[in-house]
Symmetry: C2
Subunit: 239 residues, 2 copies
C-alpha cells in the first residue's frame, strides 16, 4: 500500500508517519520509484504499536525506540525483553541511577527504603537481580514517604506486594498463552507498558469505591456534580 493508505488505515497523519520514520520508530517502505514507497501489514502493526506506546503508555520517543528495537531483535531471549521493556517504562529514568548517593544511608550504604525492599524480597521469595529497575524505584518511593513525614504509608507495603504478585501472575499467564516466541515478546512489551496504565485506572476506580465506603458523605456534598450517573451495564453512559 502507499503511505496515504497506511495513514488512513491507522488514523495517523502522513507528517506523523514521516516523523516516526525519521525517529527510527517505523522502518522505511520498499522503494518503488524515486518518490514512492510501498508499505505492508507489518507497517500497519508497527504504527499501532508505536501509537500505543506513545499515546497510551506515555513513553517518550527515545524510550519507544528502545522498546521497538527489542521487539525486532529476535536474538534477544524472552527474559531479557522483559528487562528492556521494564527499563524503558520505569519512569522517570533519573530514579534508577541516583539512589546510591541519596542521603539517609546507613552503615551498609543502604537507605531505609532499600533495606525495606530487600527485606520484602526475602519475605516474598522474590529473587531478582540488582539491576531490576523496580528495586530502586520502590526504594526511592519509600524514602520519599519518609522525607515527607509520611512513614505511615510504609504500612501499605505488604498489601501492595501481594497485589503486585497477583498482577505479575496474570501478566505471565498472558505471556504463556501466546502461541510462539515472537508473539510472547509482543505480549511482554505491550502488557508491561500498558499494564501500568490499566492498573492505575483500576486503582482510581477502587479508591473511589473504597473511599465512599469508609468516608460516606452527606448526599450531594461529595462532588459538586449535578446528577452524575453511576456506571453500570444497565445504566450506560449518555453524553
Amino acid at each position: 500500500m502507499r503511505m496515504s493508505e497506511l495513514s488512513s488505515r491507522t488514523g495517523v497523519s502522513i507528517p506523523t508517519l514521516k516523523y516516526y520514520m525519521r525517529e527510527g520508530l517505523l522502518p522505511a517502505g520498499e522503494r518503488t520509484s524515486p518518490n514512492q514507497s510501498r508499505y505492508n501489514d507489518t507497517h500497519v502493526e508497527r504504527v499501532r504499536l508505536v501509537r500505543a506506546l506513545l499515546d497510551v503508555g506515555g513513553l517518550d520517543v527515545a524510550r519507544a525506540r528502545t522498546v521497538v528495537a527489542a521487539v525486532d531483535d529476535e536474538s534477544i531471549p524472552l527474559g531479557w525483553v522483559f528487562g528492556v521493556a521494564q527499563r524503558a517504562v520505569t519512569i522517570p529514568a533519573s530514579l534508577v541511577s541516583d539512589s546510591a548517593d541519596s542521603d539517609g544511608s546507613d552503615d551498609a550504604g543502604m537507605t531505609e527504603g532499600e533495606r525495606l525492599i530487600g527485606e520484602l524480597c526475602a519475605r516474598r521469595a522474590w529473587h531478582v537481580e540488582l539491576r531490576n529497575p523496580g528495586l530502586a524505584l520502590a526504594a526511592r518511593v519509600l524514602d520519599t514517604y519518609s522525607s515527607l513525614g509520611q512513614d505511615r504509608l510504609h504500612a501499605a507495603l505488604d498489601q501492595y506486594a501481594e497485589a503486585a504478585d497477583l498482577v505479575a501472575a496474570a501478566d505471565l499467564a498472558a505471556v504463556a498463552s501466546a502461541p510462539d516466541e515472537a508473539e510472547m515478546t509482543n505480549v511482554v512489551v505491550i502488557g508491561t507498558v500498558l499494564g501500568d496504565a490499566l492498573f492505575a485506572g483500576l486503582r482510581r476506580i477502587a479508591q473511589e469505591a473504597e473511599s465512599a465506603r469508609r468516608f460516606p458523605s452527606p448526599e450531594g456534598t461529595r462532588y459538586p456534580v449535578n446528577g452524575a450517573e453511576f456506571l453500570s451495564p444497565h445504566n450506560p453512559k449518555e453524553s
Copy 2:
C-alpha cells in the same frame, strides 16, 4: 530562615526555589526588607512535597500546581481531594477526553473496553461516578489491546481488579490512620501520586521473579550480566 537556609535544608538550589515560586508551587516568604524574605518550616515541607511530585511522581509543573492548590484549600472535602489528586496524575490527560469519539463503538455508543469496564464495576460492586478518570483510562487500555491484536491480555482484567482492591484498601487504611483532616489530605495526595510509582516498581520485581519461575533459562543466559548478585538482606548491594 533565609532562602539560602531553605536551599541547604531541602537540597534544592536557589534558582530552582525561585522557579517554584514563579510557577505558584511555593508561596512567597515574609518580606523583611526590600531584598530579603523569611521562610519557615511550612516552606521546607512544601519544597519536599513539590520535589516528590515532580521528581518521583513524574508530574509536570501544571499538574503539581493543581495538586498543591488542593492541599492548600481547606474547604475542599476529603473525597474531592482524592478526585483532584487522581485527575492530576492520570497520565496522559488526553486519554480522559477523547475516548468518546474513538472508533469501535457499539449501538449504545460504548467501546468494547467501556463495556468490559462497566461489567467489571458491576461484578465488583464498584459504584463510582462517570467522571472518575480511571474508567476512561482502563477502558482505553483494553481498546488498545484489541487494536494491537492482543485481546488475550483482557483475560488478566479480573486479577488486576482484585489487586486494585487490595491496593485501594491499603491506601484508605493509610488515610484513616492520619490524625486529622489536614494530614489525611496529605496522605491522599502523596499516596495517590507516589503509590503508582511504588506499585510499578513492585510489579517489575514480581514480574522478574515470576518470569524466572515460569521460564527458567540455562544458567547464565538469562541476562548477559557477569556475576550480578541477588538482593537479599544478607547480601547487601555493593557498588
